[in-house]
Symmetry: D2
């Protein structure tokens, strides 16, 4: 590891750095008389970088050397995350679709069948909804979970649903094929640790104001529990222009594919905030290298409780799926298709 220390470090701070280095098994030596550049020789471990970053005297870690964190690419092949019939990473692209919130049994069943028919292998749908206002609809909660369980049994589609509270992890885990951690919960470490321990795949959405490093460290909270089935999801960052709700950070998608072995998907619906921009953003995400999409779909956007104006019709989702097949093929990637009952093909 190569550290740059702060200039003119007081002796106690310098001592603290050298002690930690020795405690972790490194041989430290300065590269120059100014004592700013410290080379640590030895075998790194995932947690070492953070340990040094926490010290007041360390200005920057210029080179982490062999202290690679669990999420780091570092020459590793793609992690492939599987849930239901879906596969993300390693050349496989999968589509997740569904309503913003679970609303009623007939609607849920209808949407599940529609999105499955058009290419979705996983159904999204919130039983608990994170809301800005305490007076907004907060989701059907346990009743919503029960509907998700039924729709899975009926159609075979896998379930992705959000968990907001560490006390609900058990109940959600009993139904979902994949936990969704929403953007507002990205730094809720208590929740990350619980889903990490539970062991099912985790879809981790980037907070609209998180740096790429912060997103990766949130993933590291899950990975450090021994759960390696983590998917990162870019869903737009907050910008200064009210024209679109968020800015889909396609550069972060492209960067993440190089920086980590974890799969990366894109949520064009929340990035756009309006239905007419969902298809172009979905295409842009796949073109930038995303391993999948998560799309809000609703057959009648007028009756939606929340975020309705960004849901697309099943037909539009079908067009997005078709675009995805073409664009993914540019890199010889393949969209995983759901296995439908013969009658539904």
């Amino acid at each position: 590891m190569l550290l740059r220390l702060r200039k003119a470090l007081p002796p106690e701070q310098l001592q603290a750095v050298l002690e930690l280095a020795r405690e972790l098994g490194y041989a430290p030596h300065f590269l120059e008389s100014g004592k700013e550049l410290l080379r640590l020789e030895g075998v790194g471990r995932p947690e070492h970088r953070s340990r040094f970053e926490d010290l007041v005297g360390v200005a920057a870690i210029l080179d982490a050397g062999s202290a690679t964190e669990l999420h780091e690419r570092a020459g590793r092949p793609d992690t492939v995350v599987t849930a239901g019939e879906a596969r993300f990473g390693g050349g496989s692209v999968s589509l997740i679709a569904g309503p913003c919130a679970v609303e009623s049994w007939p609607r849920l069943l209808e949407i599940a069948r529609e999105v499955q028919k058009h290419g979705a292998t996983l159904l999204r749908g919130g039983a608990w909804k994170p809301r800005t206002s305490p007076y907004s609809f907060q989701g059907m909660k346990g009743d919503g979970l029960e509907l998700l369980r039924r729709v899975r049994a009926e159609t075979g589609i896998g379930i992705v649903t959000e968990v907001l509270d560490p006390r609900d992890v058990e109940a959600v885990g009993a139904v979902a094929d994949m936990f969704q951690i929403g953007a507002r919960s990205m730094q809720n470490s208590a929740l990350l640790i619980e889903v990490g321990r539970y062991g099912k795949p985790v879809l981790l959405k980037r907070s609209f104001s998180a740096t790429v490093r912060e997103l990766l460290m949130a993933a590291e909270f899950v990975l450090a529990q021994g759960n390696r089935q983590v998917i990162l999801c870019e869903r737009g960052v907050r910008g200064f222009d009210p024209t679109t709700r968020n800015i889909l950070d396609v550069g972060a998608v492209a960067h993440l594919k190089r920086a980590t072995h974890l799969p990366v998907i894109v949520d064009p619906s929340h990035a756009a905030g309006r239905s007419d921009l969902v298809r172009p953003l979905a295409r842009a995400g796949i073109a930038a290298g995303a391993d999948g999409l998560i799309v809000e779909v609703h057959p009648d956007p007028s009756e939606v409780h929340s975020d309705g104006s960004q849901a697309v019709l099943p037909h539009t989702f079908g067009e997005i799926a078709a675009d995805t097949r073409v664009i993914a093929a540019l890199d010889r990637r393949r969209v995983v298709e759901p296995s439908l009952a013969p009658a539904e093909r």
Copy 2:
């Protein structure tokens, strides 16, 4: 209330708006033939604005009329929040100071006595620390709480400490005079509801990327539980320039003093991210109208586990307190001074 509906609304969406209006007891009538501007006549309630905002067909609420939310100024006098000897709002300014994290009994006692001597009526100090990395020090947890309980008993200073997990609210509430909700937890609604129910004062920090509206709605989650003792804290927003860690949004402080009756304080330490800028930012916050400050203080910044480079010395905190007395007096506001044992004055 005056609503602007989306243009060319489908009949079902229009129907949904009118039905909700009648359900909530309003008489709706359109102002013009285009059916975009809808006036609702009737008596508003705090939750109505959010209910209409959730509808897909509503483009904007041009005037909330009498549907004022609980946080709104709407002609109300300042809410005064009290905890220990501290008073915030209504012309009273109070100072909170202390270490980033609780580390050891001698240090904690020393800091508590120092900051009390210089004018702090509340001691801050984290037993649980929200961290970006799973490998960083996460706080002394229960042992830290116990030290806080002891230092309160020994010195009489009130305690503000962060709670991160709804499952810890009982334990923290048994010790703290005021809950701190950190910036990363601002939209953790499960946590907001629990501290709202517990009933002790809540210091709610603005997320570094929350709009003022989002901050106020987070406060509304607490207020809606019947707990009116909420203080808002501006601690810097995330910007594009790495020169300072965050941008202290003094305009938001000035705006909040007009928009809400709740007290507003400033955290210059997290905004600055470096100790040499803490004093000017503290002064700027009070000058913009803040009802108090929360400042990181440590007698030996070199030994700090986290965020050490932003802690100021007790002596500098004394200068900040002195500045605060002068600037607050411009508006005839008064700094609340701790009652010290005669020997300590």
Copy 3:
């Protein structure tokens, strides 16, 4: 037009609004007794919206009615901008490529031939370079223009080059097929007016912190001079994360294709700031609907004076062109190919 006035407007401000309305030939009438919503009946003109927005008493223009600005889509077909062999808009996609700055005759000729061979119809290359520091290379200026003139004569490729100073418009216009207005000059109205008057096509780059509305109004400065050959270029907006230099705002691209009839292209090189992300961002831009690309290409990035780390090799540019043909075909758009001498095919 439908205006929302500020609440409780002083009589003079109200008078000012009504007088302007009558002066411009509108019949004003209020929709309600509160005098906040003012309907103006009459025939709008492009400049009217801004005239009302300038008034202190006008809070918002809820509906611009027939006062459409020159850039507005308003049902108009795509404007097709042509320069050399390039065509942008109306289903035609064109590629611009070349070095950041003009450096030497052999290099320029080599690059022009390479990019033309791979599909570029226009060569980019700066004779004047906008720089952050006064000590950085500011371009070859007049000598660079002369090289551009020669390379055009030699290869037939069209020239796009930046003009920074209104006093240089004549000299640049004598050589270039298209003026480039750089992101830092987007609000340099003196310069916009001069290139508008000159009459050649204008490539207008979005400032890294301009809203979509500001970009469109910058275009309106050119359009209002009678010059309708304007291309908008999205090149990334400034965000909070240092991971990538800018965030390519693909949502703005998709929105612009709906909001204006002007062509929109993407600059993946400046958005990425590093060469390994240029290709994915180029693909994302075309997938979002862009009518073209402008890409930095250099056969030997190590010798580049400025921004070298974002230039791609000619070979990579060829891959980008190939991707573009596939993605554009999803919407039945076609890439305009340069007519090469038989020997070069």
Copy 4:
């Protein structure tokens, strides 16, 4: 100087770094075998840092050593900028006030007298106005300059006025005591060079999206022409929250006072964008260490052509001046008062 080179640098890029080092008179030597850290020994000059930053192979300049740029504090005392009776820096605080735009002779004279009476030593007022829309009022131009010349002759107040076009520098310089470079022109290098050559003091406003480094390098363009009379002005940066128009970056003010010897002032009017927040932001700016203020003042905000809603009444400006005297005194700084004719005191 201490440079960090990019990893695994191609030989040509490495060669380019070493050649430039020798050309500039440095002795280069690597600190370690990895050839990433290069120490340059020799006497630095202001332009050297930028020269190295321009090279592709240089990842960062870890220490600029003696290559200090002209704006850098580097132990230098405050530069004191004087214009008319105003003095900025070195413990002197001065107030600039006036209308957004020059509108008419009686108004201008009235405002000049009012602001002078309340403590302004300089009058602001635009003859040319930078506007977002081509259809908005662009200022009285030459006629406005003539009114500024007359009001200076009549009242003795110094004049600060904006110049937008390098072709107008001579005309503006003949009237103004200080050039204003507006936020949108901050990176207009042609303009910066012209005002640098002209030699009168320059008030340089920070672009709403410029980093502190970019602002300082814009100042360096002026300084490098031999003109050392430059004042930096913080006027708010663009954020994500529409509540206030911009975010006044008080941390940047505090940082700049440490990083440069140039005076720094604050524009609370443009930061706030609404008149009720101007006074608290003015106070915050002075409290953070600003050497002065520039405030929009108008006796009748209802008749203002542009930005009217942010102008304060002369009476409020008087309160701001009074606040400034108290807060500046905290640091033993003194507000420079205008010398009035006896009748006007």
